[in-house]
Amino acid sequence: MSERVFKYIGTRPIRHDGVDKVTGRANYGADLTLPGMLHGAVLRSPHAHARIVSIDTSAAEAVAGIKAIVTGKDFPETTAKLALGEAAIDLHDIADNVIARTKVLYGGHAVAAVAATNPDAAREALSKINVVYDVLKPVLTVDQATAPNAPILHDAMVTKGVKDAKGPTNVAARMELKRGDVEKGFAEADVVVEREYRTPTVHQGYIEPHACVARFGEDGRAVVWCSTQGPFAVRDQVAAIVGIDPALVKVIPSEIGGGFGGKIVVYLEPLAVALSRKAQRPVKMVMSRDEVFKASGPTSGTKIRVKIGAKRDGTVTAASASLYYEAGAYRGSPAGAGMACAYAPYKFPNFFIEAFDVVVNKPKVAAYRAPGSPMASFAVESTLDEIARELRLDAVDLRLKNAAAEGDHAPYGPAYGPIGVKTILDAVKNHPHWSAPLGRNQGRGLALGFWFNGGMNSSATVLLNPDGSAAVITGNPDIGGTRAAQALMVSEELGIPVERVRPIVADTDTSGMTDVTGGSRVCYATGMAVINAARDVREQLRARAAKIWDVDVESIKWEDGQAIPPPGVEKAPHPLGVADIGAKMAHTGGPIVGRASLYAPMAGPGFGAHICDLEVDPETGRTTILRYTAFQDVGKAVHPSYVEGQIQGGAAQGIGWALNEEYVYNPSGLMENAGFLDYRMPVASDLPMIETVLIEVANPLHPYGVRGVGEVPIVPPLAAVANAVRQATGIRFTELPLSPPRVLAGIEQASRQPVGVS
């Protein structure tokens, strides 16, 4: 595999969807308008925790222009679970999250929805729906949720993973991993560091809000146009929640303005379908930014306690960790993933990790880029930084001493195949950034990160045209340049220019079943389906060439996009290119269509390391990122520009998480900063150019060695930034974000110690 010389893979063509996107022609979720279309709106809970006593919609129904109103009573109870590939999802909880039935569990929880001939009428109707609440005390943190006599969100909840557990409780699950003898390992350590860390609730911050149009026809069929990472996932969720046959639901994905895991679970789509069914007219629904923050899924706030012991030479002898992840209103935080990822880059001989999934009165968390891993990495990599400081060891050397390699067992069980941890660390050590000088008030931080990279269901169809051009059809909305990557794969297999391959994102009636665009799986798993479908076309081309030359197909070679006849064939023309054979399709058997579908195991593990340089203003506490370099084992970069873009984007999001982003709640449990002015995400002018270093340790599970790229780069920044701030200020901050007020308070608490390079 490593010897293969590629002609197209690894090149940087302009993305096929690029011009439409930069000129504004591309259609996103809110861009569709249909004749007779109504405008939907949602009434949301003003309380973080309350019982719904009654809902009276009679006054709203009298508003001019109102065509339909739905509440929780319009949706059937379901206890089904849906395997959406990325996670087994409890449809009862999703349905209850879409629209509350008996309790509201967070500020912003939907309680009713309306459809009207114009947005003003819809808003007026919302104001006339009378909901009587029995307000309950909310719990907003794991500490509050696990305190004795804490208010309980779900009366039937018991802790999964604990034998003979008794409820009710707010602890939805407990998980544990262990290796070796942890106490003995700590006893052998020369230095032991223990810290407790906290990270806030943060949002993916995709620029495009959730949006959809639904049309429920007289024939009982529903069509949903929406911005989603997974049209098939939307189809199956909508059918189950609304209570209709999935065969009657078609989902057409729009272009998508970011998802990062947050556009897999449905919010608006079932409401729009139910409203359209009542009104018998199409219904459009678009969230405001306020609604996106309050009513879609952010990721968990966490409390993590980490203890690591090491010998004087840096060899870690034992490590333990307790991870508490907020799930939001319903069970299902990424605590288990955090547990599995926490020590994944290392071969620690003894460890104990426990993880708790805790419900709180916040929006139900959704997946967010390497869900669960960044918080765990923040805690572990910060603690390792302290170990290196205490032992006066170089941060790279400490990690090299303990780095996992092929054959070592991952903390979650199986042995690693080929992985790039040591290769990455060597690259860090040899990079000029690692040894560049720093100035006053400046610091440098290093951190590693890990993510699994997903596999699962994928399908692809490759259509050959008579002129030798091709189309490739999949069901994965293109978030990170996957159209271009898939076109490159077809080019590589058939030997035709990438500009002559048209990549198409299809709807649920057109594409073979395909799991979501998420889990860093598309270039890997759907890519394999594309390669197999293109190879299917290639074999058919060989067979057609055999017909043309009247020879045995086995005698025909395929080289550089051409069928090569066996020696002795004199019939012209030869060799035969794709266009030559395509032109004779009608005479040799008809159209040529390649197809493939597969279920892929999870891709090879992905690792990355980030170096962050920053400067802290001791007068204001403001942090400025000066230089940032991201190293990552990408397996094989199919389109290096989009691989680099993924890494830069992930780093930028992680830096925002480290420095500024957080949900701010008032004592009543209501979010106070639900807008981009008050929820501070980094913009281009906040960051320097993020340098990327691509390392290619081929993944043996993929024909080109592709590993999956998009999630790993959000993992290291939290600790890379915190470790740099530690060096710049001399203060170990254990709670994010490192916003100016927190950093300034830390500096002042440290009695205005001299700030400088330590």
């Binding site: 679970k81 395997a83 590939g85 990325e86 996670a87 087994a88 999964k160 993973g161 604990v162 034998k163 699950a173 407990r174 998980m175 544990e176 991993l177 262990k178 993916q204 998802g259 990062f260 895991g261 947050g262 990424p334 288990g336 993933a337 547990m339 599995a340 104990f352 426990e354 997946a367 967010y368 880029r369 390497a370 869900p371 979650y412 069980g413 199986p414 042995a415 690693y416 195949g417 993510w451 699994f452 990279n453 997903g454 596999g455 699962m456 998420g518 889990g519 860093s520 799986r521 279920y599 195991p601 999870m602 599970l701 999630e711």
Partner: protein, 80 residues
Amino acid sequence: MATVHLPSGLTQFTGGLSTLTIEAPRVADLLATLAARYPELGPQLDQVAVAVDGEIYQDPGYQAVRPTSEVHLVPRIAGG
């Protein structure tokens, strides 16, 4: 017989055993045998993925298990 490794969090349901040997041709048969042998473990198995000789399957089903296979039950992971 395949060697099956459980995460430590599940050993409370197997009387403390973390490594077992099970004869099963496919993952589904292996999980069914586990659940039959340890009834309290059964309800815990809906949230696990299964690694067979290093390859992790999110939706464990009919993947073949060889007599020499190393099988690990691992947390089921959701990606973004």
